[in-house]
């Protein structure tokens, strides 16, 4: 159950990124989470509510996009998405796959902020 430390790290990063937009409110945080990232969305959501209290993220939505595992299949010569994480075989030819190309991501893709009109962004030129 390391979701709370993950969420704390999200709060730190987003707070820092949003600070260049004075007076802005964070309304949404979008994550990309690989199917092998070992985090549970329900736990993230639960911790998110607690960890964002009293921060610039309070009241914002957490949107989690789960990415399927993508392996490189040598016989097929292409990257293939797996249907689940119970078998690391190519869904087309059935051969085992050794080379993981996607599935461990754990990243903040973007944030959506609401800016009060007429406030200049600090330290960043448009």
């Amino acid at each position: 159950m390391h979701e709370l430390s993950i969420v704390s790290s999200i709060v730190d990063t987003v707070t820092e990124s949003a600070a260049v937009y004075p007076g802005a409110r964070v309304v949404e945080v979008r994550l990309r989470v690989g199917a092998l990232a070992s985090v549970v969305e329900d736990s993230l959501q639960f911790c998110y509510g607690i960890a964002t209290e009293g921060t610039a993220l309070e009241g914002s939505r957490l949107v989690v996009k789960v990415l399927p595992v993508v392996m490189h299949c040598v016989p097929c010569g292409e990257d293939v998405a797996l249907e689940g994480v119970q078998s690391f075989r190519c869904p087309k030819c059935g051969e085992p796959c050794f080379d993981l190309r996607q599935g461990r991501e754990l990243e903040i893709e973007a944030i959506e902020i609401e800016e009060a009109d007429g406030v200049e962004k600090a330290g960043v030129t448009a």
Binding site: M1, Y21, L36, V85, R89, E107, E115
Partner: protein
């Protein structure tokens, strides 16, 4: 009010990943092979490591270990009986080791004087899979008492490992352990992974395991 989307594309564990990359460079410069041992609680990581340290020392290898637990230094004391330098890392509730904890606990150790450094992670098959410790080899352990479907239940961990060790093979018969099923499941999650069937009690599998360690250490070019 103006709504704006700000692209970040930032890894959430970036800080750990950067620290781990620094550790990986340090290990490479020192020429030490670092292994991260992960499993459920009770698989027998400590017994397996104790036995590995003793056997490696008998063969003249220079070894050390870091051992992670939520509380107590019982494991460090057990491992230190092998004569190897051992340090305990108490995480006080944190369910995994991270690169910063490793870095702190390496203070004062001359890595260049070691052939192998073992890191026994906190017993947990979920969270440690996300935290790179800069290790050269991640070893996942599974005991015959746990059920053959463990790899299917914890695919993220088994898929991230480089080698698998089945422990307590001396109990395979009383536990009605289905060896073929276990091997098949490991292979389904991590095709081609090296698997060692061991017993710290009877000594089964030690030669193959030590041979693998030697092969990996030499294979790194020193």
């Amino acid at each position: 009010m103006t709504t704006r989307i700000v692209e970040l594309r930032r890894g959430i564990l970036k800080k750990n990943d950067e620290l781990a990359a620094g550790l990986r460079d340090r290990y490479a410069t020192a020429g030490v092979l670092v292994l991260n041992l992960v499993s459920s609680p009770g698989t027998g990581k400590t017994a397996f490591l104790e036995w590995t340290l003793i056997e490696l020392r008998k063969r003249g290898a220079r070894v050390a270990a870091l051992v992670g637990d939520l509380e107590t230094d019982n494991d460090a004391r057990r491992l230190a009986a092998s004569g190897a330098p051992v340090r305990q890392i108490n995480t006080h509730g944190i369910c995994h080791l991270d690169a910063e904890m490793i870095s702190k606990h390496l203070d004062g150790w001359e890595l260049g004087s070691l052939d192998y450094l073992f890191i026994e992670n906190v017993g947990n098959l979920v969270c440690p899979s996300s935290y790179d410790l800069g290790e050269g080899i991640r070893v996942v352990l599974l005991s015959v008492t746990e059920g053959e479907d463990k790899p299917l239940k914890y695919p993220a961990m088994f898929n991230s490992a480089d080698a698998a060790v089945i422990t307590k093979m001396d109990l395979a018969a009383p536990c009605a352990f289905d060896r073929w099923e276990a091997l098949k499941n490991i292979n389904e999650i991590r095709p081609g992974m090296r698997i060692f069937e061991t017993s710290a009690k009877t000594g089964a599998g030690i030669e193959e395991w030590l041979g693998y360690l030697e092969e990996k250490r030499v294979g790194r070019g020193h």
